[in-house]
C-alpha cells in the first residue's frame, strides 16, 4: 500500500513537471473569455450556456489528460527501461501498476477540483451581473451545488477512461493505445444503441452479439448527467451510487487484468 502511494506521488510529480497542469490555465482562460463575450452579445440564456460549457470543458480536458498520459504510464517506463532498476527494488509488479494508476487518478483529481473551483468562481461573478428578475426565472441558481453531482460522475468517468488507457498501455504502443481507448470511449458512448440493435437487425445471432456487447462494453453514456443538472432535473441518489459502483467494478476488472498481463511480461 505504501509503495503504491510512493509510486503515485512520483507520477503526480511527473505530470506537474510535464506542465500538464497548464491545461487549467487554458480552461480558466476559455471560460472567462466566453463569459465575457456572451455578456457583450446577449442577455438571458447565457448562464445556461456557461454551465454547459464549463461542465463540458471539465469533462473534455479531463479526458484528454486521462488518455494522453494514461497510454504512456506503463509503456514509457518499459520502453525507456527505467523499469529495470525499479523492479530490482523490493516492489511487486502489481504495486507498480496500481501505483501508476493512483498517480494519474490523483493528477485528475487535482485537475477537476481546481477547474470546479474556477468554474464556480466564474458563475458566482456572473450571478452578480444579472438583475433579480432574470435570476428568478432560471431553473437553477447560478452557483447550483447540485452541479457537483454531474462533476462527481464526470470524475468517475475519467477514472474509468484512465483504467482503459492504462490497460492498453501495459502491452501496446502509445499510438495504438490511444486509438483503442478513444474507440472504446466512442462505442461506449453509443452503448444504448446496441441495446436497440435487435429491433432493427434480422439475424438473431447479430442481435445476440449486440446484446452481449451492450453488457460487456463500458457504458460511458451513463456518466453524462450534465443536461439534467443544468435544468435542475432530479437525479436520484440511488442512480449516483449505482453508476459509481459500476465504474468501480469496471475499473477493478481492468486493473486486475492489466496487472496480470504486466506480471507475465518478458522485458526485452
Amino acid at each position: 500500500m505504501r509503495l503504491i502511494g510512493h509510486v503515485a506521488v512520483n507520477v503526480f510529480k511527473e505530470s506537474v513537471r510535464d506542465k500538464v497542469l497548464y491545461n487549467l490555465v487554458a480552461f480558466a482562460v476559455l471560460l472567462i473569455a466566453v463569459s465575457y463575450l456572451l455578456g457583450q452579445l446577449t442577455a438571458g440564456q447565457d448562464i445556461k450556456i456557461i454551465k454547459d460549457l464549463g461542465l463540458a470543458a471539465i469533462a473534455s480536458f479531463g479526458r484528454l489528460i486521462a488518455v494522453f498520459i494514461g497510454i504512456g504510464l506503463v509503456w514509457k517506463e518499459v520502453e525507456r527501461r527505467s523499469i529495470y532498476s525499479l523492479l530490482s527494488k523490493p516492489i511487486r509488479r502489481h504495486e507498480f501498476v496500481l501505483g501508476k494508476y493512483a498517480g494519474l487518478a490523483l493528477t485528475l483529481f487535482v485537475n477537476v477540483v481546481v477547474m470546479t473551483a474556477a468554474f464556480y468562481a466564474v458563475l458566482a461573478y456572473l450571478n452578480t451581473q444579472f438583475p433579480e428578475a432574470v435570476r428568478a426565472s432560471w431553473p437553477a441558481p447560478a452557483t447550483d451545488p447540485s452541479m457537483l453531482r454531474a462533476i462527481v460522475l464526470i470524475f468517475m468517468e475519467l477514472l474509468l477512461v484512465t483504467a482503459v488507457a492504462l490497460f492498453f498501455s501495459t502491452f501496446s504502443s502509445p499510438f495504438l493505445s490511444a486509438a483503442l481507448t478513444c474507440g472504446l470511449w466512442v462505442i461506449g458512448h453509443f452503448n444504448s444503441d446496441l441495446q436497440s440493435f435487435e429491433t432493427v437487425v434480422d439475424s438473431p445471432a447479430a442481435a445476440y452479439l449486440a446484446r452481449a456487447l451492450y453488457y460487456v462494453l463500458p457504458n460511458f453514456a451513463a456518466f453524462d448527467i450534465k443536461t439534467q443538472v443544468v435544468y435542475a432535473l432530479p437525479v436520484p441518489g440511488s442512480y449516483m451510487v449505482a453508476t459509481s459502483a459500476y465504474a468501480l467494478a469496471y475499473i477493478a476488472l481492468l486493473l486486475t487484468t492489466a496487472t496480470v498481463i504486466f506480471s507475465k511480461r518478458d522485458f526485452k
Binding site: S192, Y215, A221, Q228, Y231, P234, Y239, Y246, L253, T256
Partner: protein, 294 residues
C-alpha cells in the same frame, strides 16, 4: 494465472454485467425531457463549423430529426412539442441541399396537426421553398408545396398554381397538368387526392413515405364509405321520420347487413345521426373539405 485471480476476474465481470443490467432496468440516465437542445441553430454558422464534414453532419442532423419526431410522438406527454423538428430539418438541408428525403419528411410531418405533428404548414412550405432555391429544376419540390396547400391548408388556388408550376418543370409526370386544371376548376376532391397519394405510394423510396401514402388512401376510402353510410342514414330518416339510434335500426330497416367497419378494421360509429370513425381507429382524424369528384 492462479485460481484466485481467475475467480476475482469472474466476480468482477459478473459485477460489471449485473450493474449494467441494473442500469438498463432503471431506464438509463434519469429522464431529461429537455435533453433536446440545439446550441447552434443558424445554418450559416453550422456550415462554417462543419468544415469538410458537411455530408456527415447532415446525416447526423437527419437522424436526430427523425429521432426527435419519433420520441416526441411516442411520449406520453400531453402537450407534445415538436419544436426542434424544423430547425433540425433546416440544418440538414442547409448542410446538404440535396437531402431530398428531409424535404419529403418535412412536407408531411411539419404540416401534420397535433398530436401527430406541430401543425406548421407554413414551416413546411418555407423548407420546401428553400429546397427549390437550391434545386430549381426539381418538380417534386414544387408538387410537394402544392400538396401542402392542398391537403393541409385547403387553399386550392395556391395548390393549383403550384401544380401548374410543377407541370412546367422538366421530367414532370403527364398527369400534373390535368391535376392542376382539375384542382383549379373543382377545388379539393378525392380523385385528385387519390392520384397524388397513389403516385407517392408507387414511387417513393422510403418505406415510411409509402406507408403514409397508404394510410392516406385508406382515409380517402373511409371518406367514401362514410358518405355511403351517411346516405343510408338520411334515407332511413326520410322514410321512418326519425334518426336511427344505432346500426341495429338500419339493419332492421334493411339498409345494412352486419356492422360496418372502416378500411383499418375499426367499426364506424353513429352518434346523433352523424357517421364517424371510432376514436381508436388509426385512420382518424379524417381530412376535411375533400368532396368526391363531380
Amino acid at each position: 494465472m492462479s485460481a484466485r485471480v481467475v475467480a476475482l476476474l469472474v466476480v468482477l465481470m459478473g459485477g460489471v454485467v449485473g450493474l449494467q443490467a441494473l442500469h438498463e432496468r432503471g431506464g438509463g440516465p434519469p429522464a431529461s425531457t429537455t435533453a433536446s437542445m440545439l446550441y447552434v441553430r443558424s445554418p450559416e454558422v453550422v456550415k462554417r463549423l462543419a468544415l469538410s464534414y458537411k455530408s456527415l453532419l447532415a446525416d447526423v442532423y437527419w437522424i436526430r430529426a427523425v429521432q426527435h419526431y419519433g420520441t416526441t410522438k411516442l411520449s406520453t406527454d400531453p402537450d407534445k412539442e415538436y419544436d426542434l423538428l424544423y430547425p433540425l430539418l433546416d440544418l440538414t438541408t442547409s448542410l446538404d441541399p440535396r437531402f431530398n428525403v428531409a424535404y419529403s419528411f418535412g412536407s408531411i410531418f411539419l404540416a401534420e396537426p397535433p398530436p401527430g405533428g406541430p401543425g406548421r404548414a407554413d414551416l413546411a412550405i418555407a423548407l420546401l421553398e428553400k429546397g427549390l432555391r437550391a434545386q430549381p429544376q426539381r418538380w417534386e419540390l414544387a408538387q410537394s408545396i402544392g400538396f401542402v396547400h392542398y391537403w393541409w391548408r385547403q387553399d386550392y388556388d395556391q395548390a393549383a398554381a403550384w401544380f401548374a408550376r410543377a407541370a412546367a418543370f422538366p421530367g414532370a409526370p403527364d398527369w400534373m397538368g390535368p391535376l392542376a386544371a382539375t384542382t383549379l376548376a373543382q377545388g379539393g376532391n378525392r380523385e385528385s387526392s387519390r392520384q397524388l397519394w397513389q403516385q407517392v405510394a408507387r414511387d417513393a423510396e422510403d418505406e415510411w413515405y409509402r406507408n403514409e401514402a397508404g394510410r392516406r388512401l385508406l382515409q380517402l376510402d373511409a371518406m367514401d364509405q362514410r358518405d355511403v353510410l351517411q346516405e343510408a342514414v338520411s334515407a332511413f330518416q326520410q322514410r321512418v321520420g326519425r334518426l336511427p339510434s344505432g346500426w341495429d335500426d338500419l339493419r332492421g330497416a334493411g339498409y345494412l347487413q352486419g356492422t360496418p367497419v372502416d378500411p383499418a378494421g375499426a367499426p364506424y360509429r353513429l352518434d346523433s345521426g352523424i357517421v364517424g370513425l371510432d376514436s381508436a381507429s388509426p385512420l382518424g382524424p379524417l381530412p376535411r373539405g375533400l368532396a368526391p369528384l363531380r
